[in-house]
Symmetry: C4
């Protein structure tokens, strides 16, 4: 049986997350953010196929564990909803997922000799560095680069492993969190970290956070998420939709 949608306050929070990610330059017309259904952890919430900045409560669909729309919902879903479903399957600790083409991160996914690593305390969640998923391993060398089925979604989830972010060669990145607010924070600071690392690499060899520093700063930042969220939410309060 299909679970009911959660409270409208939760749908509104997800719509707000969509607009924040646009306003902060993480998504453009493409990219998406999902969350697990709070009461039914096998299911997840994700907008229908549309530009994130336009998403309202009423655009949010409920997907089953196989990333299929529920309740006979005939609206067009995102082609890449399997990113979300397969990560939720493999990572029970994850409650929210952002997929994007955020611009400073893409270069780290297409140059095999570098690794995106945390250069400052706001991005300690990047830990020992973000793995890169090479879709050619699974889809051959003539794919359209999209995670368009469960097999590819599962391969991506395996690449992610226990990390918080995985880059996708020639495509973008996917970031995960334990809450919606945390994943929004992480998607934004993954982009910030990439820009800082790009600039630092011009200057010489950066000192990255140690594993202990990465873990401790992540723990501290988890207690500060609402400070940023409240500001970002205020910034999009007057935006379309």
């Amino acid at each position: 049986m299909t679970p009911a949608l959660p409270d409208r306050a939760i749908l509104q929070e997800l719509a707000t997350a969509n607009r924040i990610l646009f306003q902060q330059g993480v998504v453009d017309g493409f990219g998406h953010v999902s969350m697990r259904h709070p009461g039914h952890p096998g299911h997840f919430l994700l907008a229908r196929s549309m530009a994130p900045v336009m998403v309202t409560q009423d655009d949010i669909m409920l997907f089953d564990p196989d990333s299929e729309p529920t309740g006979g919902d005939k609206r067009r879903p995102y082609l890449e909803r399997f990113i979300h479903g397969e990560i939720y399957r493999l990572r029970p600790d994850v409650a929210a997922v952002v997929h994007s083409h955020s611009p400073s991160v893409v270069p780290f996914g297409i140059v095999p000799t570098v690794t995106l690593r945390p250069v400052f305390h706001m991005s300690g969640f990047l830990g020992t560095g973000a793995p890169v998923f090479e879709i050619r391993c699974c889809a051959g060398d003539s794919s359209d680069m999209l995670i368009r089925d469960r097999t590819l979604g599962s391969a991506l989830a395996v690449s992610l492993g226990p990390q918080s972010a995985v880059l996708m060669r020639g495509h973008g990145s996917t970031v995960v969190g334990q809450t919606l607010r945390q994943v929004v924070f992480r998607a934004i600071y993954t982009e910030v970290n990439a820009r800082l690392q790009l600039d630092a690499l011009r200057l010489g060899e950066p000192t990255f956070l140690s594993p202990g520093e990465a873990a401790a700063s992540t723990e501290t930042n988890n207690g500060q998420l609402n400070r940023s969220w409240d500001m970002w939410a205020a910034q999009v309060a007057g935006s379309p939709a």
Copy 2:
């Protein structure tokens, strides 16, 4: 006999394209976008000489196959309208053209040792890389760099060949599409790709899309053009004109 202008909805779409290209940073006071007349494929529609962001329906002129204004229209046309006319002549598959000086693309046109190539799936239409047109070959080394007659327009169209984009040394670039919405999408993502490639080249040797990946992702994106268009159109809905 001169064909009549198409429906005002089509003129409005072209005016909107002008404003989107400004809002997305592809054009500034210079640059232009045209489309073939839907019912008379030898003719094309292009604004009079003015800043794109100011263009309204009433500023759009109709040009004949030789890039001359029709119907005794005495308004000042763009000096470089021959870019459009000669590409339409040589490329029957092309229904819309954007010429711009979009800032991340210019450097790829002035450094002979690099090629603009697709680094991610949104710009698969760049295929095996954008050719560069060197105007000195045809206009000598003291020209004003502009495509100001049919001969230069034809030489540029030959340089473009079967590709979707051609760079112009010391000048800018020209992008083509099968529809107006597609060419706007391509002009924007040509700029995005150039910025990503500039950043990636700092980091090391990028992995470009394979020809198969470029073709397949282009095909997929062609089915998604309206998602971006709807967002961009909403963003310029309140802009001047």
Copy 3:
């Protein structure tokens, strides 16, 4: 006995400083600006823990010389208030402090082989170059990177020495001034200088200001602070809060 808060005009000036620093890209959801209590130089004024752009007069708290809230104020203070308190203790000439993660400055703190130095007259206050504080010296290699007690604050203040700015490895920077308007000016032009130096280092070996030029231009700029302040204050006059 706890001193009374200063005039509301002074609190308003500090709230305005918070919003200017956000609008100019020096702070995001994190970072903070303080000033000494004008009549009680051992005490200082600093907002409660919140995003700077949201700060109003009523959010400002009064701290004692040990960076503890006064008068039984139970609101949540910034974890890093010790940056401010310990600098005020060690530097009697300092009357205002900005701590931020301003994005062009961070790379200079994480690459040990470069020094942030004044490349133009607006940032002469950088003198012979900004020192870098390495928290591992004092907190080991698994800290959360924050200046969360008096000991760390004091070590940072010692690193600052007689300079106007100190970088913090893997974290950000702290800038000091003799007045609130001066420290806002300095925080903004520290960021500008870092961007210029990053760009200049791409081109070759920069010529930095000589010590004499740095001192003389600082002196001149001190007489011009209100020109920028008036503009920045006008720009944030309509912003939230």
Copy 4:
């Protein structure tokens, strides 16, 4: 005898130029734009000392050929008004001057091994490249970097020579034109060219415009200045002041 101020339409045009230069990122709180008095070519018009974006008609002062305020005007003038006066003295062909710290240009003034040269047709006015003025030659190595008297202004004007732009080491740049609209166009495209050249130099060795291309494209652009001006003026129509 002191000439009368010109028509208010001319003062308004100069005020608009100030706001355009701010809106386009050429000036921040510092920088200034002047024009010769149309009927009295020995005198020139320049705002009182204030942030350019705030300038209105009523803030414009009239200066004599020695850069001194006329008619007993007691308002505070810019310290560097001698930049303008001495260029007008040495260059009778110049009718308008912009001094700025525009951010992409500064690096070319502080790295002695590079020259700012035209990389595309919009900046052909840069000719064979912008000279760099080193103030140490005239003011020693402990100056405040400012052009604060006629001697320094004259030395700068000599460095400019017959060119359209001169860079000032550790400071900024000064651009000249035959009309106010032309100098605004040139100041904006000097900044654009510098950004393009910075990016191109990352990629390899750029091909610059030949002297003939630079001259011919300048001539063409002179016929197109109003297209940009009209757009820029529309963009600042609603701005403060």
